[in-house]
């Protein structure tokens, strides 16, 4: 039985995960190009290294949002599995609250860093010298914020489950 995902934030997280998973395909192309350029044409690029870094950063950061929607962040559920339904829901509420607290602090710190980078117009200082640091510092904040939205949805679901008395809501 597959349940239809209806909440817009769930759909947003899934869309982000699936769409941005293509960065890994682009990454393969960039790396193959770089290796070919270096060995076949003896002309390594100045940009492949930095572009690869930015691509995996997109994948890793936004992958966290997708994983969260799929409830794929690993936890130790041995004790949890023994609990009755409403106790499980209560633990879910707690887990989501912890998650939100961490993400809030992360966004706080990340925003300070990102704002500073924007103000300074920080660049990578490499031969290519692009504003990559600004991009990366902003990206982690965006990723964490999207995870906050998804954790918020899970939190509301868990609170509802705690409130529901009967087994069949």
């Amino acid at each position: 039985m597959t349940t239809q995902v209806t909440h817009p934030i769930d759909r947003l997280s899934i869309w982000i995960g699936k769409t941005f998973s293509y960065v890994y395909l682009i990454l393969i192309a960039v790396m193959v190009y770089e290796v070919t350029a270096r060995y076949v044409f003896d002309a390594p690029t100045i940009w492949a290294h930095e572009v690869s870094g930015a691509l995996i950063a997109i994948g890793f950061t936004l992958g966290g949002v997708y994983t969260m929607q799929q409830k794929g962040h690993i936890s130790i559920s041995s004790v949890y599995e023994l609990m009755p339904r409403r106790a499980k829901a209560a633990l879910d509420v707690f887990a989501q609250a912890v998650t939100l607290a961490f993400l809030a602090a992360f966004i706080w710190g990340g925003s300070v860093n990102a704002l500073k980078a924007w103000e300074l117009g920080e660049t990578s200082g490499s031969a290519w010298n692009q504003p990559t640091p600004i991009f990366l510092k902003t990206l982690v904040v965006v990723g964490a914020a999207l995870m906050c939205l998804q954790a918020g949805v899970h939190l509301v679901q868990a609170v509802r489950a705690v409130m529901t008395r009967s087994e069949q809501p």
């Binding site: 995960g17 790396m31 290796v35 995996i56 962040h73 690993i74 879910d92 860093n113 982690v140």
Partner: protein
């Protein structure tokens, strides 16, 4: 607050939150935030975020999604089935031949995958039904699949070793080369065990009748043709790293491209396969990396309060010979392996253990291999044995989780023997490295 008290509070909080089923990534994250805030105030939040950005700049991390994607494509393109049929011709006439064949396939597949899961699922789907149909002892069959399938992270490429190398600051290529022989030692122990058991009691694993093993030459050639490119991908990855042609990340990315090419030539490259492999890569990396971010934050904050030096002093101050300290660390790893996933263990223990290993004058590459072998045990041991869970997912419904856990014990014993061998003979991890260096 004294460092002893901080350490005690931190460990208690860690255990408590984990037992309450909070995802590990956010358990470590929140403790980093809480401890950091208590000690240094809110400016520690900027440190946590910037450590994350710095970590993502590690170029070797490129190899993680590339190896995961490559394995997903190869596994999805039916290589396992072909391999299994090819090996049947070779090993079918032995007592326990199907189990031997499964182990050989597992070793080759292990050279394509770097993460536990896919390989066990495939072997569970391809090899288990055949062994059960042929009247193999259920426990032997399931043990072989769990233990053999776990070799994926022992034989390079291995995501476990990549993460270890990143933390221990040792070259990933060295770790890969060093782990080959110990990986084969483990596989060899499994093989010997299967052969001995089946020869003592042929009913455990009867040989296949000769008519079943006959394959027309045309089919053999077709099989060989289909196997050529996937094998070439393996050889390229290991060869290019060992030969110093490409960095680990470049080898991984070109390997992924090679896997796509191999699937295309085999005629089963579809849009659905690529899409599903990308989605799998996305969610696996999302999980692995946020866990890494969280643990990285915690270790950073703990180091700032002097925790790492404290534990280092504690460990090296133990009234033990250096080898005794190593044994204590391995015992901790084995115990943690029962309840935690490898990634959590490597992230939380290695920033503390590796300085101790270095301080005692041991080779961190050797210790990385020992770590990887202890995680092999961790995959099989209850209550949290990922290999067993993966097999349960694809095993016939009448096989219970308890039965699979019972089936793996002899293999856990063999893994401990393997661990002891590498512990006593560190040369096993050095030998190929010396060959590669020349």
């Amino acid at each position: 607050m004294s460092i002893e008290l901080i350490t005690l509070l931190m460990c208690s909080a860690l255990v408590l939150l984990l037992v309450l089923n909070v995802p590990l990534a956010f358990v470590t994250g929140i403790i980093a935030v809480g401890l950091g805030y208590a000690m240094f105030g809110p400016q520690v939040f900027t440190l946590i975020a910037s450590r994350t950005v710095t970590l993502m700049g590690e170029f070797v991390l490129v190899s993680v999604p590339m190896f995961i994607f490559m394995a997903a494509i190869l596994e999805g393109s039916g290589v396992a089935e072909d391999l299994f049929r090819a090996m049947h011709v070779m090993a079918g006439n032995l007592r326990g031949g199907l189990a031997v064949q499964t182990l050989l396939v597992a070793v080759i597949m292990a050279a394509m995958t770097g993460i536990i899961g896919g390989e066990i699922v495939l072997l569970g789907m391809v090899a288990l039904p055949q062994m059960l149909k042929r009247g193999y002892d259920k426990r032997l069959a399931m043990g072989v699949i769990c233990a053999g399938g776990s070799l994926g992270t022992m034989i390079p490429p291995s995501i476990v070793l990549i993460v270890y190398g990143l933390i221990a600051n040792v070259p990933i290529g060295d770790l890969f080369i060093a782990s080959v022989v110990p990986g084969l030692v483990l596989a060899g122990l499994y093989l010997i065990y299967v052969l001995i058991r089946c020869n003592l009691d042929p009913s455990l694993g009867p040989a296949a009748p000769p008519e079943e093993r006959q394959m027309p030459l045309s089919e053999k050639l077709a099989l060989l043709k289909r196997m050529f490119l996937p094998m070439a991908v393996i050889v390229w990855i290991l060869g290019s790293i060992y030969g110093g042609i490409a960095s680990v990340s470049e080898a991984a990315a070109t390997g992924a491209a090679g896997a796509l090419l191999a699937a295309w030539v085999r005629g089963n490259l579809s849009f659905a396969l690529v899409r599903n492999s990308l989605h799998q890569t996305m969610s696996t990396c999302g999980m692995l990396l946020w866990l890494t971010f969280g643990a990285n934050a915690l270790i950073g904050v703990y180091n700032l309060v002097g925790g790492i030096n404290f534990v280092k002093g504690l460990m090296t101050g133990l009234p033990l010979e250096p080898m005794g300290v190593i044994l204590v660390m391995l015992a901790i790893l084995l115990l943690l392996g029962m309840v935690m996933d490898w990634i959590g263990i490597v992230l939380l223990t290695m920033p503390i253990f590796v300085p101790v290993v270095n301080h005692l004058g041991y080779d961190p590459v050797w210790f990385g291999v020992l770590f990887c072998m202890s995680m092999q045990v961790g995959y099989l041991t209850p209550p949290f044995g990922p290999a067993v869970f993966y097999l349960k997912g694809v095993a016939p419904p009448d096989i219970t989780l308890g039965e699979i856990f019972k089936s793996v014990w002899p293999f856990v014993g063999l893994q401990l023997v393997g661990l002891a061998i590498v512990l006593i003979f560190p040369q096993l991890t050095l030998w190929l490295r010396n060959v590669a260096a020349n």
